[in-house]
């Protein structure tokens, strides 16, 4: 129901930011992420950044999968 992709924030101008993936840039609304910084990664759906992503959490998710694999 909700296609979204991760973009890296390149610049911020009020409620609008520019996000980037593979050299592609997109204007993104960042109304819902008040403390956003340049360089942050965000998940974008229909032109709106819906959540910030951190590498630590990504590593955590991956470590859970790896643990599960090792456990079997």
């Amino acid at each position: 129901m909700c296609l979204a992709i991760p973009l890296k924030i390149r610049s911020i101008d009020g409620k609008t930011a520019v996000g980037e993936a593979a050299g592609l840039t997109q204007k993104v609304r960042v109304d819902f992420l008040p403390d956003l910084q340049i360089g942050d990664y965000v998940m974008v759906h229909a032109g709106f950044a819906i959540q910030k992503m951190t590498e630590e959490q990504a590593k955590f998710d991956l470590s859970c999968i790896e643990e599960a694999i090792h456990a079997v």
């Binding site: 296609l3 593979a22 050299g23 592609l24 840039t25 997109q26 204007k27 229909a46 032109g47």
Partner: protein, 333 residues
């Protein structure tokens, strides 16, 4: 000459003549054209003919990597090449909308002339019509191409189990680039169309031998073209998802818009099905030819799923690829 196209330029009178004599003939100059007869008289060919036609309505008329003029030459030339022909002559019909900028028209004609020269084809006959404002989208082109047959027998019916499926480079660039150039989607990037003539690439592949069929995967993309190869046959094509080259920007653009690169159009890529024993030679020949540096083998012909194209996914699963069922629309779901 006026700075815009008016109805008079399609009247068949003085202004039409002006268009022909000041823009078209100087750009394409060749004996068959310069007679300005109702049709071109061409020398007797040395072999059977290949004849193809295509119309071009791309919006916008200019996009990164090409324009409607270049596309109009490549589109038809490539069709002649894929049918095993060596393209020689083109016709050119222009349908212009009242108000179209004369300078843009000159630029398009120059692009046609440049591309035709690079390919070695002559524009030998043509026509120009002007439609009222609001009845066209600036400019439409039609080209028809005649070539001599250099490789008889190319056909999907020649495909055999075990054959290799080759592609000349990364897929889906043109479709994604045009979508971007249209400015309807809020993304920017350096995506460039893959629009290019395939006469050298097809000749190189054919010279290497063992080619069963050639096709340029334009509308509908690689998935649709390959589906057409095997539909209603006892054969299937098994593709390896990890082997299919996709430009990272095309990949990202498709992810953003919910599109599938395998269904995105190419305008300068070639799919070749070849006998297994010559596949490597064809691949090497393609890689040595400009525009084919990125050629790779993406799959094999099998009998496992008659009539279907099967994709072995990167995740290790498999699924069938059908034909495109309608224009791809950007989606949020």
């Amino acid at each position: 000459m006026d700075e815009i196209i008016t109805l008079d330029y399609g009247s068949g009178g003085l202004r039409t003549a002006q268009l022909i004599e000041e823009i078209l003939v100087p750009a394409f100059r060749n004996p068959a054209l310069e007679v300005l007869g109702d049709g071109a008289v061409l020398p007797k060919p040395e072999s059977a003919l290949v004849f193809s036609t295509d119309s071009f309505v791309v919006t916008p008329w200019k996009f990164p990597g090409g324009d409607i003029g270049k596309l109009a030459v490549c589109g038809t030339v490539n069709d002649v090449c894929m049918a095993g022909g060596k393209p020689l002559y083109l016709s050119l019909s222009c349908i212009l909308e009242e108000g179209f900028c004369m300078e843009d028209f000159r630029e398009i004609v120059a692009s046609i002339a440049r591309t035709a020269k690079a390919v070695g084809v002559q524009v030998v006959t043509g026509d120009t019509k002007v439609v009222e404002r609001g009845h066209g989208d600036g400019i439409y082109l039609n080209t028809a191409g005649i070539g001599v047959l250099r490789a008889p027998g190319l056909s999907k019916d020649a495909i055999r189990p075990g054959d290799a499926v080759l592609v000349s480079g990364s897929v889906g660039c043109h479709g994604a680039a045009v979508l971007f150039a249209r400015g309807e989607i809020p993304f920017a990037g350096s995506l460039s169309s893959d629009c290019q003539p395939l006469q050298e690439l097809s000749a190189a592949a054919l010279d290497a031998g063992g080619v069963r069929v050639l096709r340029d995967p334009t509308r509908g993309g690689v998935a649709t073209t390959l589906s057409e190869f095997v539909e209603h046959s006892a054969l299937s094509i098994e593709l390896d998802e990890t082997a299919i080259p996709v430009d990272p920007q095309v990949e990202a653009a498709c992810a953003l818009l919910g599109l599938d690169p395998l269904y995105s159009a190419c305008e300068g890529r070639m799919l070749a099905v070849t006998a297994p024993e010559t596949a490597e030679a064809v691949l090497q020949a393609m890689r040595r030819t400009p525009g084919g540096e990125g050629a790779v083998c993406i799959g094999r012909v099998t009998q496992s799923h008659p009539g279907h194209v099967v994709l072995r996914t990167a995740a290790g699963g498999s699924r069938l690829l059908g034909k495109l069922s309608g224009a791809q629309l950007p989606r949020i779901c």
